[in-house]
């Protein structure tokens, strides 16, 4: 059994002694207008990481939502430990030992870490803080993470919040752990950490389902990889297959499976990198910096430290990357430049003139743009139409407003144009922006920020959570803008992305710039050192993101 056809669901046999912990059979689920799952059969074994690979919208999350009791399937059955199980609620799923870590946080932001963990865990009226603290310390030890039990969740970085989510999922002794796109918020070092954690979980006999749309992740992390396309399970690659082929062969095979006919049009993922690589060569940049940060300090929120004495200079048309582990001041820095956060010291200059006392709107007008990482929360106004979202930073200005009165014709015209130019998939410009998928929301945000004469654009995690296709489009867009002389500051926790895009890469660590590295050979190693505070010794935790992560299945262990 090398590859299993979807419909041959009866062909599932437990290989050797590893009995399936969970078996899904013939699962179907349709939403109005779309079939999310179409007769999907899957078996998840103990002591294995089962990767569920597919593009956004392929039905991965729905399938796992069904397993976690969040979504009721239209058809199909689920067996847990060989017994039929009707998982009709999240509570039932937890009772059956199925724990889920969602892509988006489900923690109560205003409570502390400990309170959040006790919230779901205890039936008793009186909360046992001492025992909970001990349990937290134990799990944190197992996961190899540091957690302040009394930190208020909303003050933690997204990456830290996710770690709490994992702890929460394991809190009640789960046997099956489902991770929905867990690496989208992690740095390469964090991914390596997560891999270690997964190895330990496997050793404890847990079955892990790892949902991802990143190909190399599935290959390097998964013992078994199932590929979903448009709601259908197109193939499952078993450990033998994964072990017997090279990464290149696997990659080619999986790209074909994921995208089907489109595979040729899309080209390999590697091809994209070459393409970007090629474009970066031989650009002469003016010497005079366009955006300058001089000893910029800004306060952080709550437990986050803010930024301290950051000095950077970016030349016209240059792409400067800001690398760093999530929560080291990236958001504060971006907001300080955009004008959403007051400076506690230093100065920001645009074209030689200080802008640090100007409002967000005035900086906008000067051509400074900010593509926020919080697309849904602050990037768009979800109940307004797509068309209006395009012009939200130009409220009251001609030609969209005339003497304070809105003019729908020019707005719709511009919107139609932007929808085409930025390839936004929407039923129409009058559709509510909140009904679009994440990738299309990002395109709307990009279209708004990049139109009307941008000079400097701050991108905060521009491809976070996006599928390969959209990621590619976004990166190409950033590049295209740079070609036209638009300066870009790309903040990303995805080092691979920065190495693909940037001319230079600065590293943020605890709110300070610990170094600026010219992109080129050896840059990733140097950046890796700087990301953990400049100590080469900690480099061991970090694998070079340009390469495929050390394989788990071939050697069975991570060194």
């Amino acid at each position: 059994m090398t590859e299993t056809d979807t419909n041959a669901s009866t062909g599932w046999t437990a290989a050797g002694g590893d009995a399936p912990a969970v078996e899904l059979e013939g699962i179907s689920k349709a939403y109005p207008g779309v079939v999310a799952n179409d007769d999907v059969s899957l078996s998840i074994r103990r002591g294995e990481v089962h990767c569920l690979l597919g593009e956004n919208g392929a039905g991965k999350s729905t399938l796992m939502g069904i397993l976690a009791g969040m979504v009721a399937p239209d058809a199909g059955s689920i067996r847990v430990d060989r017994r039929d199980a009707a998982i009709d609620s999240p509570k039932r799923a937890i009772e059956l030992g199925i724990g889920m870590v969602y892509q988006h946080t489900t923690l109560v932001p205003t409570l502390t870490v400990l309170e959040n963990l006790m919230l779901g865990a205890s039936r008793a009226l009186r909360l046992d803080a001492t025992r909970s603290k001990a349990r937290l310390a134990e799990l944190a030890g197992t996961l190899g993470i540091e957690v302040d039990p009394d930190a208020v969740v909303e003050t933690l970085a997204l990456g830290q919040q996710q770690q709490i989510e994992i702890v929460k999922a394991l809190w009640r002794g789960s046997k099956v752990l489902i991770l929905d796109e867990p690496t989208s918020m992690l740095t390469p070092a964090g991914v390596a950490e997560l891999q270690k954690v997964l190895v330990r979980l496997k050793e404890h006999g847990l079955a892990v389902v790892f949902i991802t749309h990143k190909l190399y992740e599935a290959i390097s992390i998964g013992d078994r990889v199932s590929i979903l396309r448009q709601g259908r399970l197109v193939a499952t690659l078993d450990p033998e297959t994964l072990g017997s082929k090279t990464h290149e062969e696997l990659q080619a095979r999986i790209v074909e499976l994921m995208f089907g006919e489109e595979a040729r049009a899309l080209g390999g993922v590697a091809e994209l990198q070459d393409e970007l690589e090629g474009r970066r060569e031989g650009r002469a940049l003016p010497e005079e910096p366009l955006l300058e940060l001089l000893d910029v300090s800004a306060p952080g929120d709550g437990h986050e430290g803010g930024v301290h004495e950051v000095s950077l200079a970016v030349r016209p048309g240059e792409i400067l990357g800001i690398a760093g582990v999530d929560g080291n001041g990236q958001r504060e820095l971006a907001e300080a430049v955009a004008g959403q956060r007051h400076l506690s010291g230093g100065d920001i200059r645009l074209g030689g003139a200080s802008i640090s006392r100007l409002s967000v709107a005035k900086r906008q007008r000067l051509g400074l743009r900010y593509v926020t990482d919080d697309r849904l929360g602050e990037g768009i106004v979800s109940q307004l139409s797509v068309a209006l979202n395009f012009v939200l930073k130009r409220i009251g200005q001609a030609p969209f407003w005339h003497r304070g009165r809105i003019r729908h014709a020019p707005i719709n015209e511009t919107a139609q144009d932007l929808v085409e130019r930025f390839d936004v998939r929407t039923p129409g410009v009058a559709a509510r922006a909140g009904t679009l998928s994440g990738g299309n929301v990002q395109k709307v945000v990009l279209a708004r920020e990049l139109s009307f004469g941008p000079k400097v654009v701050i991108y905060n995690k521009p491809t976070y959570g996006l599928d390969i296709r959209t990621t590619r489009a976004v990166r190409a867009r950033i590049h295209e803008q740079a070609e036209h002389g638009v300066t870009a500051v790309v903040i990303s926790t995805d080092l691979e992305e920065l190495l693909d895009l940037c001319d230079r890469i600065a590293v943020l660590f605890r709110g300070r710039v610990t170094g600026v590295v010219e992109n080129g050979p050896g840059a990733e190693r140097r950046i890796g050192e700087l990301m953990v505070g400049g100590f080469a010794g900690e480099d061991a935790q970090h694998f070079p993101p340009g390469e495929i992560a050390p394989s788990l299945h071939s050697g069975g262990e991570l060194r």
Binding site: Y31, P32, G33, V34, A36, E55, N56, G57, A58, G59, K60, S61, T62, G65, M70, V71, H104, D180, R229, E262, A265, G339, Q340, S359, V360, A361, K362, R363, T372, D374, G377, E378, G379, I380, V381, S382, Q383, L384, S385, V386, L388, L392, K393, I395, G404, R405, I406, H408, N412, R425, P427, A430, A431, R432, T435, L436, S437, G438, G439, D467
Partner: protein, 374 residues
């Protein structure tokens, strides 16, 4: 799991994903807006039966006392302050701000207008007096709302608490004024001097209806236009949708908070002036029409649409005017009308609750209220 609920189209040549199927706009409105009212009337009927009254007679009396025999004029007169309050609430609620200090703002403005009225009336022509008093009332209430507005804009203080507390202060300051500088000692009870009848708001020809209703309808139209067509309305809507978005988009959030608060305050002041210069001509100590919290549910039933507020206010005006007669006939306390208002609120809450699990149309709350427009 946004991914599953909102699938992104996968194929290049594919049609974009169909939006989730939804009820027609009319069905939506019917369910959300008329539903709770109808349910409240039915529940009220059951209560009446339990109290040994005939609900049909009662509701017939409401209609008779609120619509027929010229009583419709009373209902229209009552609509004037209610519409002005509703207009003011639409402005703040759209912006996601809870100005619940309506009664304090209204009463303080009315007290100053009525208290200064008799003195001013002797020195200036009536029209000038009325215009000055209206502007004064508007200014007083507008300035009064600056306190909670600035506290919210500057320190992020919860305006629900500050406005409710300011109501107590406002009502008591009004009482101090009525029992102090404005007291007319020729009367047995503490009250202000009485404005002569011809110095009060003129009536529409051939009716008892004072021109306050015209002011109110104008205010409704202005607010509707502001909210639907202007950049100011859109800014308020964004603020109401997400403060974070507002900041990101470069809106001046503190200024928007203060301005929307002030606009609503001005309308509350006008409501007070219309009621007391149009109907009463004087104000007694401890007199409080307490319109404020009655209008709040109506504004939500109208889904923060200024034009849609008009029929709801009309309905409520008939209910409260006709209710006077009906409760008297049925020998029930006048507060029975408030029971009906309470039932409407209860059924709105039920609809809102069910709406989360079933498709019962959109939320009453501002953030999810407005359909995409462009």
């Amino acid at each position: 799991m946004t991914e599953t609920a909102l699938p992104s189209p996968v194929g290049v040549g594919e049609e974009p994903a169909a939006p989730p199927r939804r009820r027609s706009a009319a069905g939506d409105t019917l369910l959300r807006s008329i539903g709770p009212v109808a349910a409240a009337l039915v529940a009220g009927a059951i209560l009446l039966v339990a109290l040994g009254r005939n609900p049909l007679t009662f509701y017939a009396d409401v209609l008779r006392g609120g619509l027929l025999d010229g009583f419709w004029q009373e209902s229209v007169i009552r609509m004037a302050p209610l519409l002005l309050i509703a207009a003011g609430l639409v402005v703040v609620f759209k912006a996601g701000i809870w100005n619940l200090g309506i009664d304090g703002q209204l009463l303080l403005a009315a007290t100053l207008a009525v208290g200064l009225g008799p003195g001013l009336e002797k020195r200036a022509p009536n029209t000038v007096t009325l215009v000055v008093l209206f502007l004064l009332a508007a200014a007083v209430a507008g300035v009064w709302t600056l306190v909670p507005a600035l506290l919210k804009a500057r320190y992020g203080l919860n305006e629900i608490i500050t406005t409710l507390m300011m109501t107590f202060i406002g009502i008591n300051v009004a009482n101090i004024l009525i029992k102090g500088p404005f007291q007319d000692f020729s009367s047995n009870v503490p009250q202000t001097g009485v404005l002569p009848f011809d110095a009060m708001l003129p009536t529409l020809p051939g009716t008892r209806i004072h021109v306050g209703i015209l002011v109110a309808l104008a205010a409704i139209l202005v607010v509707w236009y502001l909210m639907t067509w202007t950049s100011f309305g859109l800014r308020l809507q964004i603020l109401g949708a997400s403060v974070r978005s507002a900041k990101h988009l470069g809106l001046n959030v503190p200024r928007l908070i203060v301005v929307s608060f002030a606009v609503s305050g001005v309308l509350m002041g006008l409501a007070g002036a219309a009621e007391f210069l149009g109907v009463w001509g004087y104000i007694r100590a401890d007199q409080n029409p307490a319109f404020g919290l009655e209008v709040v549910p109506l504004v939500f039933l109208a889904r923060l649409n200024a034009l849609a507020v008009v029929p709801f206010v009309g309905f409520f005006a008939v209910l409260s005017i006709g209710g006077d007669l009906a409760t008297r006939e049925a020998e029930l306390p006048n507060d029975f009308i408030l029971v009906l208002v309470g039932l409407i609120l209860l059924f709105m809450a039920v609809t809102e609750y069910l709406g989360r699990t079933r498709a019962l149309g959109q939320s009453y709350l501002p953030a999810a209220r407005r359909r995409a427009r462009a």
